[in-house]
């Protein structure tokens, strides 16, 4: 009886693990192909198969993608666009997170008449497809004189991200006891003091969630980037597309792959560094202590 149970559980375990391994392989193979292709020479790519090991490992494709690949007529690599993306993402993430935190604070600790309706309407913002706002937003950016600029893109991403960041922070602050705010009010703290000295310092987990979410969304965005920016002000996602589609002579698969990995690195990095806190923040029901 006992033996039979053991055998059964062993069988089940084997099944679970093989399913997991299969799944992992399925997801990792494309990455593997990208990686090995990016370190092959063009000859190697032509003669070998998709998954064959490179004859000779070279990082020329990487440096080409970074500094000299042709994007349209401009052959300067991804470097400039990478910095475009950074200078767009960092302020956009910071601003949308901060405003989201502030919104969440007001919606939970300083409720006003209609604050629930306000929140519900804000939530709809999470479900509005990008395409719907393209034209009105273009008009707005033009009106503000921000069309085709990085500040314009920042504005678009901040507005679009607010619905999400507000949702995150609102749900986090709901679980923070109101008595904390009351105690601070009796201690003499005002509206902003309470936010900056009590609420914000305990928001670590949800700040991480908001930052990862926003960073990934904004960094990976293509549509807004392609619509609202032009020329050398485009984010890296748009530049990557242009790089791959630029057809002069031989298709340089190794450079394309290297460029794609470069474009994906920052989000991977953010996830590796803070991923642990991401899960923790998402599941944080309450503040301990």
């Amino acid at each position: 009886m006992v033996e039979q149970n053991q055998q059964q559980s062993l069988l089940g375990r084997a099944f679970v693990y093989s399913a997991l391994v299969l799944g992992a392989v399925y997801f990792l193979i494309p990455l593997f192909v990208m990686l090995i292709t990016s370190v092959k020479t063009l000859d190697d790519i032509r003669t070998g198969s998709l998954i064959s090991w490179p004859d000779q490992i070279t990082f020329e494709a990487w440096s080409a993608a970074w500094t000299s690949a042709c994007i349209g007529v401009d052959c300067g690599g991804l470097k400039g666009y990478f910095w475009n993306s950074i200078s767009m993402v960092v302020p956009a993430v910071a601003i949308s997170t901060l405003i989201g935190a502030f919104n969440g604070y007001v919606l939970t600790k300083w409720r006003f008449r209609g604050s629930d309706i306000f929140f519900a309407m804000l939530l709809i913002g999470c479900f509005i497809p990008f395409q719907v706002v393209l034209l009105p937003m273009a008009r707005t950016l033009g009106f503000l004189g921000l069309a085709g600029t990085i500040p314009g893109l920042i504005l678009v991403h901040v507005i679009y991200g607010l619905a999400f960041t507000t949702l995150f922070f609102r749900n986090f602050y709901v679980s923070v006891p109101d008595e904390l705010v009351k105690a601070a009010r009796i201690d003499g703290a005002g509206f902003f003091t309470i936010f900056f000295r009590i609420l914000l310092p305990i928001s670590g987990p949800i700040i991480v969630v908001s930052v990862i979410w926003q960073f990934t969304q904004i960094w990976n965005d293509f549509l807004f980037g392609v619509v609202y920016s032009a020329g050398d002000k485009q984010p890296i996602t748009v530049a990557l597309n242009n790089l791959v589609n630029t057809s002069t002579g031989v298709k340089q698969y190794n450079v394309d792959m290297a460029a794609a990995i470069i474009a994906a690195l920052p989000t991977l990095l953010v996830y590796f560094v803070a991923g642990k806190y991401f899960v923790r923040g998402l599941t944080a029901g309450s503040v301990k202590g």
Partner: protein, 370 residues
């Protein structure tokens, strides 16, 4: 002067009338308890005194100052919350000095105050810890320390002990009382626990449905409850409420009681005038458990004390006393009996009924008759 005066306070949340005209006045240094079942409005009232909740109508004065519309920080109050509400991101020291630093008290003075408070509450070794590293009792102390730091003219307590285990609760209760004796500051304390109310309070306001049922000293409220709600709320085990017919027996005004052992009559002395008109009707007798005891020979000749033999139902030993349940007029009645005198279930016991402190209530309204 830092007494507290609450004048005809009303509170509505939309259509819900939470407080229906509260009047309370206490002197400086008094310990006021607001007690009542949940939903009676006691916490709302405390929050209004603190300024955390707006007032629909009426005025609140602290000392001679009308504070009805002042911000909490301008009321010169400090408050201890049920959940302690310690700032999780700050150390104990920072928690205590937060209010001081916001009020721009010089740093050296802050440190002095923190030391004084820490010494008073014996939390010196905890000063550099975070609240998450403290036990429930320690958090409670820190919360009190935070309130003490500012030397306010009134302390407000919002069920501060209800999150502690039973033993710690009793200890902290004593400490709060000692603190009050030492500081002599006016304190307002909200609780749903009638024992806390009795032990701590100098003045107790018993609330129900947004109305103060009775306002008085603990003993007044215990001995002379104004209605059946107050009588039942204060005291543990609760007062017995026995519906009994009022009769004339041997030309003596009496109440008729019926036990499995038979009917018996207890004469009412001293309250004839009020009860004369009740002859032939049923009235509610309120008698505390400790007024129905085993037969104590030395009490036998006292006025107003009567013997009766009753059948024992359930028996609950508590240690110092044993609670014996008997049926009187089909109502379960608790008697407090010496453990050595208690009988077992189904046996008969001689009980002594002391009617000198008996109270009578109108059956319909629950109002006190006499």
């Amino acid at each position: 002067m830092s007494g507290l005066k609450i004048d005809n306070i009303q509170k509505r949340f939309g259509d819900v009338h939470v407080l229906k005209g509260i009047d309370i006045e206490i002197d400086e240094g008094d310990f006021l308890i607001l007690v009542g079942p949940s939903g009676c409005g006691k916490s709302t009232l405390l929050h209004m005194i603190a300024g955390l909740e707006s007032v629909t109508s009426g005025t609140i004065s602290i000392g001679q100052r009308d504070v009805t519309h002042l911000n909490p920080k301008d009321r010169d109050i400090a408050m201890v919350f049920q959940s302690y509400a310690l700032y999780p991101n700050m150390t104990v020291r920072q928690n205590i000095s937060f209010g001081l630093s916001i009020r721009k008290v010089p740093e050296s003075e802050q440190e002095e105050i923190v030391q004084r408070v820490a010494e008073m509450l014996q939390i010196g070794p905890l000063l550099d810890r975070k609240p998450s590293q403290l036990s429930g009792g320690q958090r409670q102390r820190v919360a009190m320390g935070r309130a003490l730091a500012r030397k306010p003219s009134i302390f407000l307590f919002d069920e501060p002990l209800s999150n502690l285990d039973a033993k710690l609760r009793v200890e902290m209760r004593t400490e709060i009382k000692e603190l009050h004796n030492r500081l002599g500051t006016t304190m307002v304390y909200v609780t749903h626990d009638q024992i806390e109310a009795m032990t701590l309070g100098q003045r107790i306001a018993i609330m129900k449905d947004g109305v103060i049922q009775q306002f008085g000293s603990p003993q007044e409220i215990y001995d002379e409850p104004v209605n059946q709600f107050v009588a039942g709320f204060i005291g543990s085990p609760s007062m017995n409420f026995i519906p009994c017919p009022v009769v004339k027996q041997d030309n003596q005004l009496s109440i008729e009681l019926d036990n499995e052992t038979g009917k018996f009559y207890l004469p009412i002395d001293g309250k004839n005038a009020e009860l004369e008109s009740w002859v032939g009707k049923t009235i509610i007798l309120g008698l505390r458990p400790e007024k129905i005891t085993h037969d104590i020979a030395s009490h036998a000749d006292n006025q107003g004390i009567h013997r009766a033999n009753c059948r024992v139902g359930i028996v609950e030993p508590t240690g110092p006393d044993t609670l014996v349940f008997i049926e009187l007029n089909n109502t379960k009645t608790v008697c407090r009996v010496d453990p050595s005198e208690a009988k077992n279930t189904g046996e008969n016991i001689d009980l002594m009924f002391d009617l000198t402190k008996a109270v009578f209530f109108e059956p319909e309204t629950g109002e006190r008759v006499c």
